[in-house]
Symmetry: C2
Subunit: 324 residues, 2 copies
């Protein structure tokens, strides 16, 4: 199969919204007048972001999901994406599965594949995603103000628990492992929540490297600090651990680590003024996404953890870094 | 050096034209009203698109140049790009050189780095580039009509000659080798020509895989055929071979192969009606880019080569394919 046959067979479909799609030198997009374009790019490397033997359908889903998650964090609506793919070989069954998972998620969000590149090389997937939102309404990392509430969506830590189990570091019963693995391999980008938070959240970030580490991006960009209530964050604990007896067999400190610094959760963390608590609750309900208030923004720089009694908890929860 | 220090040190500069650049979940772009956005993505893999020991400054240049070449082929003006980079390790000297070459070319075209991703992995560079052009004025592959002239810009084959020399398949004297290697490692995207051809060219493509192979994309997309005059294409022959005595030592058939199917030239091939020959010449002059007329579009599908006497020449010049 030639490079062009490969593209034609697996990745070319009739253009819908874009002016021109796969197969020319460039794709052409005509953004809606008055809308700003949000752009993000994520690269996934075999052995680092995924196991080389992961089901290709799940990998296709995840490669796009982690990019859509960045759009969610800005409050943007997905429009289109490009796919650059380095493949060690042409494996039709693998490619068919990958394309199926990728395009199913794309279709469910009206996000069109408009171009890209294929080449031979160590397995590498690079997606650049485009969304749009009304000019000036993007949720940025830099808008948090002292006194704002801090929130996180969904639950945290399942992906890390699954990773630890698949690596053989911990044991999980079959059912919670399957659930945790689903969170690791089939993350759900919180697009509806992100869009519902436009005009409400003062800042937002998506949780790819771990809650505390990603929250630190907001604090740094906003020039503020924060106090996080570990009693509240414990309510975010991985469903796979919380809902089964598996949790009793797991070290509580490990569960805290997974919740606070697990990574690969693709939930949103965001801030909003206390006066908008009802609006936040309404946005959560409208987007059918659970949201928990976990702390407050403070003027003093740094990130402080406190327990149920308001006593300091040592923060030893380093987030994931690809170069450390 | 952490992932974030790496990004901050080498790739973050004050935002100029984009609404929001490196460091948030998304970059934000506000296209000029009435303009269409042209998007293209290219992935470069070590050992396939470049030698792993190539000078990092040249690699930075080339990684962006091959993307800008796609914008040139559409007639778009560069706006911005994202960079996703997988690195086997953090080598400050390498990164400084790479960033220098990348950003020098970006600056010379007013093309702003607005975001991206860094991760550890086998060396892989994926750039997605954004340009703009008046809506409806893009040069497409599908517009060639029977009777149109066929043109190519600049000269062809130097990059392939350099590759063959560096691989040890042929010998080139130092001076022509340096010139050929410059074409391989520091290609010049024909942006000014592409923009000057808006409203003149009926179709265009950039020459990354070889003249005949890339021309075939135009023919297929336009549902036409072509006749190419090999006397005219011999005038496009690699400068490194033409201007020195090196050519006398090289097999003429090899030189023809490099000219017609060399790859990595990043010139433009395009078509235009014969009535617009003066306009094509003016566009070439205005953009200071040599252009040669090399054949004609025909209704009959397929690509035919003829010699100076109009006799058929067998086409055995296959273009490059990453999966063959």
């Amino acid at each position: 199969m030639t490079e062009f046959e490969l593209i034609a067979h697996y990745f070319t479909r009739p253009v819908r919204r874009a002016a021109l799609g796969v197969g020319d030198d460039c794709a052409l997009l005509l953004p809606t007048p008055g809308m700003q374009l949000a752009v993000s790019s994520d690269m996934l490397v075999a052995g680092r972001h995924f196991f080389a033997d992961v089901a290709p359908e799940r990998l296709g889903h995840k490669a796009l999901a982690v990019n859509l998650s960045d759009l969610a964090a800005c409050g943007a609506r997905p429009l289109a994406f490009t796919l650059a793919l380095a493949l060690p070989c042409v494996d039709p069954a693998w490619l068919a599965g990958f394309a199926r998972g990728l395009l199913a998620l794309a279709d469910s969000h009206g996000c069109e594949l408009v171009g890209g590149d294929t080449t031979r090389g160590p397995l590498n997937i690079c997606i650049t995603v485009f969304g749009e939102l009304p000019a000036g309404q993007a949720l940025l990392r830099s808008g948090a103000r002292p006194g704002d509430d801090i929130y996180a969506s969904g639950s945290l830590g399942d992906a890390r628990l699954a990773l630890l189990a698949l690596q053989g570091h911990i044991a999980l019963p079959a059912e919670p492992l399957a659930r945790a693995r689903q969170r690791l391999e089939l993350p759900t980008p919180r697009l509806a929540l992100g869009q519902a938070l436009r005009g409400i959240a003062s800042s937002a970030v998506d949780l790819s490297d771990g809650l505390l580490g990603d929250l630190a991006h907001i604090l740094r960009a906003s020039g503020v600090g924060a106090c996080i209530d570990t009693r509240a964050t414990s309510q975010l604990m991985a469903e796979s651990a919380r809902e089964t007896s598996a949790s009793s067999a797991l070290d509580p400190e490990l569960l805290r680590q997974c919740t606070l610094a697990g990574g690969d959760d693709y939930e949103l963390a965001f801030t909003a003024p206390p006066a908008l608590r009802a609006a936040v609750a309404a946005a959560a309900q409208a987007s059918a996404t659970p949201v928990a208030r976990i702390g407050a923004v403070q003027a003093e720089p740094g990130l402080r953890l406190v327990d149920a009694q308001g006593q300091p908890v040592v923060n030893r929860y380093a987030s994931f870094d690809h170069f450390q």
